[in-house]
């Protein structure tokens, strides 16, 4: 945390100093403290209060009217960790999050490497690879639903043409997961690409020139020069991706609905279902606390080990 030096005037002029001490913005602070009130009130009502309520709800059994019926201690937590659907949800969420994050970064790195090398039409390629940045999860999901639609989707048409047996990927557990990972990597590509492009510009061109003379392949250069040089950015991106992907909701809701057989029922979606379809607030709240713990740990790592994180998200 940085703090500015208190303003001091290095001037012998006594008159000026007197004026200053009377009007010092920094010390004349009582009135300006009210500036914090609007944000604090909103955070209290819509962040801290709900977090406390969620913790309390997670310790109660919910009755049919959605009220806290009786205190059950940690029983809800015991129950969710005995629930095969939640365990599956947790495991599949972790798998999805890590595969997606790693793939996004690898693909974005390769694209950024291709674009930073001296080429004509650089601006065009940069725009093309960054283009997915503004696309919402909902629009992306609709585009992928269309591509993989079992009757009209182009991917399916292609699969049929090459003689694949299973063409409706949405009904197979790995197929549904595959579509979610693919759409997610695609969506996240623009952001990762732009960040890596920025980082790559800090790697001196001469390193590559030497490697070129030594006869290193592109892969070798990327692996031995680029990756070590930009490792802070890679780590930052990895943590940011993980935090974002853990909250994946939209794509699940629109593309798979958590299916087939709960295979893509990721944690955020499971919480939503238990809360707003089953109205079991106790169970949903304890699941929400598990999600919070995971996100809080990842965010803490982000704050702790990546200096940019606090400022660039």
């Amino acid at each position: 945390m940085q703090s500015r030096k208190t303003a001091t005037l290095h001037t012998p002029n006594i008159k000026l100093t007197a004026v200053k001490s009377k009007l010092n913005l920094r010390q004349n602070s009582k009135s300006a403290l009210w500036f914090l009130a609007p944000s604090l009130i909103i955070l209290l009502i819509f962040t801290f209060y709900p977090m406390v309520v969620t913790v309390i709800n997670s310790l109660f059994a919910t009755n049919v009217r959605g009220e806290n019926a009786r205190f059950v201690g940690l029983a809800n937590y015991v129950q969710i960790f005995k629930d095969p659907v939640f365990i599956k949800s947790l495991g599949h969420t972790f798998a999805y999050v890590f595969i997606t994050s790693i793939l996004t970064i690898i693909v974005a790195l390769l694209l950024a490497r291709l674009v930073t090398q001296r080429i004509k039409g650089q601006a065009f390629f940069r725009t093309a690879f960054a283009s997915t940045m503004g696309i919402s999860a909902a629009v992306a999901s609709i585009l992928f639903l269309f591509l993989f639609n079992p009757s009209v989707g182009l991917v399916v048409t292609f699969l049929k043409a090459i003689g694949a047996k299973q063409t409706n990927l949405l009904v197979s557990p790995t197929g549904a997961m595959f579509i979610l990972i693919l759409s997610s990597v695609w969506m996240g590509l623009g952001f990762a690409f732009l960040n890596l492009l920025g980082a790559l510009q800090s790697v001196p061109e001469s390193y590559y020139e030497v490697a070129e003379i030594a006869g290193w392949s592109n892969w070798m250069q990327t692996w031995k020069i680029t990756v070590p040089m930009i490792s802070p950015t890679l780590f930052f991106l990895f943590v940011v991706e993980i935090i974002g992907k853990f909250k994946t909701f939209t794509a699940v809701d629109l593309i798979t609905g958590g299916g087939p057989d709960n295979n893509t029922n990721f944690v955020a979606y499971k919480i939503y279902q238990d809360a707003f379809a089953s109205h079991n607030f106790g169970i949903a709240s304890s699941e929400a606390i598990v999600l919070t713990i995971v996100i809080a740990i990842a965010t803490w790592i982000q704050f702790r080990y990546t200096e940019r994180s606090v400022f660039y998200k």
Binding site: N24, L25, S39, F125, G134, V139, S151, V240, I243
Partner: protein, 271 residues
């Protein structure tokens, strides 16, 4: 064999660029084709027209959705800008006891996922009578720790001389904030506005839970509504709607591109 290497590189660049923009291009292409051709798998059809767009505007509430998203995103962005500016100002220009601790309180909110707060927030909004309203869609998002950090970073770059001169001139907080701090941080504020507008334009979970009618439903949830209602799989119209929803985003991004290029690549993983 340098030219061979160059050709190889361009082959990959073009191939990967095509793959990357293919989902969007196919969406645009499909939005121009008659649904009958799409259903028949006739993607090479030459029956290109804007009929799906006219159909989407006439038969679906897409314009209503876009209006709702425009109203909510604008309101949130303005509210956030005011609230975050005020908070960031205090954290940079005012000394007070427990400043570090209070800053930490803001920091903590970034560790708490909104997804874990939806049940109590839903109940709060319901008790305020704000379900299915612009108030419910916007007010909970007026405070943003990330927004405060972003503006704080910009305010920290303001030379301390400027503050000293303002003091000598006898400026009060309001005049210093409006006359010096904000104009000086212009480019960060533009980035802030673009980032926040896009984030809220693309919001999904909260509107899904709190809106029930087309009168308040914003675009992203509206898209789900259309896709779910449409029993005939009218892909042409659905694609046209998706593209219509995408256009404002692209306009904002194109306008903001030169600010993003300055190295402040805000954004983040979408959920």
């Amino acid at each position: 064999m340098t030219w061979l290497k160059t050709i190889n590189r361009y082959f990959w660049l073009i191939f990967l660029a095509v793959i990357t923009i293919a989902p969007i291009l196919l969406g645009v292409w499909a939005s121009l084709l008659p649904t009958a051709d799409i259903a028949a798998g006739n993607f090479m059809s030459t029956h290109i027209s804007l009929a799906n767009y006219i159909g989407a505007i006439q038969t679906t509430p897409v314009l209503r959705y876009i209006t709702n998203s425009f109203v909510t995103s604008t309101l949130i962005t303005l509210g956030e800008l005011v609230f975050c500016t005020l908070a960031a100002y205090v954290f940079v220009f005012i000394d007070f006891r427990c400043k570090k601790q209070l800053f930490f309180v803001f920091l903590i909110t970034m560790m708490l996922p909104f997804e874990a707060q939806i049940i109590p927030n839903f109940q709060t909004i319901r008790s305020f009578g704000w379900l299915n309203s612009y108030a419910g869609l916007t007010i909970p998002f007026f405070a943003s720790a990330f927004g405060v950090f972003m503006l704080r970073q910009a305010f920290l770059k303001i030379p301390s001389e400027l503050q000293e001169y303002s003091e000598i001139l006898g400026m009060n907080h309001t005049r210093f904030l409006m006359g010096i701090v904000l104009p000086y941080s212009r480019s960060t504020i533009v980035t802030f506005v673009i980032y926040m507008f896009l984030t809220h334009w693309n919001a999904y979970l909260w509107p899904l839970i709190t809106t029930f009618t087309d009168a308040y439903r914003p675009t992203q949830v509206g898209l789900k509504q259309l896709q779910a209602e449409d029993t005939f799989s009218n892909w042409g119209v659905i694609m046209a709607t998706a593209i219509l929803i995408l256009i404002p985003t692209l306009i904002v991004l194109i306008i903001g591109q030169r600010y993003f290029k300055k190295g402040l690549n805000v954004g983040g993983a979408k959920g």
